[in-house]
């Protein structure tokens, strides 16, 4: 019975993916992409990966969709830019892609006597970390270095986006959202939803230690709430030279790095946790990381600075 549902989801995913590639209008293609992301998060739940489903719905479909939608709206005039390649090239590309798909499908069908898995190892040592969510254990205890480096990659991408503003606008604020009149319904939305969203974000970050959730999902909800507030004009986008913003950006990875170096002193090495304080340290890192990720993702979606500072 569940297989029938899976067949339905898989055929919808492939059909919507194909529709997105074939769509004529870029705005339509972006909307199809958002729908595709939400269907993909259902697929993740069917694969028993609920943390990934939350992340896909929030980041993969939500904030990426918003970013691409605003870019598509700004690039409406350039729809005719570039020519579609000729029919033989399309056929050649199509056959190459079909070959790659067939190869990947063959790899999927390769029989493995015992599927390789690290689940027993992950579960065996989870009690020492004090966590109950094995994915959080992998993210913050077993492969904490990957998470730290990923956070640094986010900051580097933000620096890259900031550096794409024109020289005149360096230190200014991103141009977000059109003017909305003060009694607008969007303003009402931006006043009602963010408190609820902040409670959700705090809950998701806190409960990520034992149930699906965690810093990335909570941080993304924070980022989206801040973006809503900026787009409705309830708060202005901060200039990128603002010290408060820069401290908030750096707080997460800095705390993570500090705890990592503390591991030299009180535990076995870099990013090692003492068994008694492991959960406390990890939850502290998750809270700081959620704040930092919220600010970073929102500024990544806001774009390069375009408005100069008022003198």
């Amino acid at each position: 019975m569940a297989l029938v549902f899976d067949i339905g989801i898989v055929s919808l995913l492939i059909a919507i993916g194909a529709w997105m590639i074939m769509a004529r209008d870029t705005l339509v293609a972006v909307i199809i992409f958002v729908v595709y992301g939400l269907l993909m998060s259902i697929a993740w739940v069917r694969l028993s990966a609920v943390d990934v489903a939350l992340t896909e719905a929030a980041i993969g479909s939500g904030i990426t969709g918003m970013l691409l939608l605003s870019a598509a709206a700004r690039l409406r005039q350039t729809e005719g830019a570039g020519a579609r390649p000729s029919f033989p090239v399309c056929v050649a590309a199509g056959s190459l892609c079909a070959l790659i798909s067939a190869g990947l499908a063959g790899v999927v069908l390769l029989p493995a006597d015992v599927a390789p898995t690290l689940a027993p190892l992950a579960v065996a040592n989870l009690a020492d970390t004090g966590l109950e969510n094995p994915v959080a254990g992998v993210l913050f205890a077993y492969r904490a270095l990957d998470t730290l480096l990923e956070k640094v990659v986010l900051l580097l991408a933000l620096l890259g986006v900031w550096s794409l503003g024109s020289d005149r606008a360096w230190g200014g604020a991103p141009a977000l959202g059109a003017y909305v009149p003060p009694n607008d319904i969007l303003v009402f939305f931006a006043q009602v939803l963010p408190p609820i969203g902040i409670v959700f974000a705090a809950y998701m970050t806190w409960t990520g230690a034992s149930h699906p959730g965690g810093a990335f999902q909570g941080g993304t909800v924070l980022a989206v709430m801040w973006l809503l507030v900026m787009m409705a004009g309830v708060a202005r986008a901060p200039p990128i030279s603002s010290t408060k913003v820069r401290w908030l950006l750096v707080a997460g990875p800095a705390l993570f790095l500090a705890v990592g170096f503390l591991g030299f002193v009180i535990a076995a090495g870099f990013l090692a946790y003492p068994v008694d304080y492991a959960k406390a340290l990890i939850v502290l890192i998750e809270i700081a990381l959620a704040l930092s990720i919220g600010v970073t993702l929102a500024l990544l979606a806001a774009g390069p600075p375009e408005r100069t500072l008022q003198p």
Binding site: I185, L186, L193, I196
Partner: protein, 91 residues
Amino acid sequence: MSGLLHAFTILAVSAGVVFFIAGTVGLVRFPDVPTRLHALTKADNVGLGLVVLGLLPYTGGLLGALKLVSVWLLTLLSGAIVTQLIARAVR
């Protein structure tokens, strides 16, 4: 007792699915954007409410039930506001 609960869930979720189908038919068949928005918000929100009602016996406690109902309320809120914004953008 549990047989009655199962029957209630199946009835409520089926009714919800019927409302969703009605909303989708409206989305496909209605002529312009305001009528389509009307069909979507009214039918889909009622459908979601019925599905949530049907799932309430399985949530395991008051907190889970409150979470499900809050999902429905938030969908109502955001659906109403986004409908207004889209209708105004089209007009």
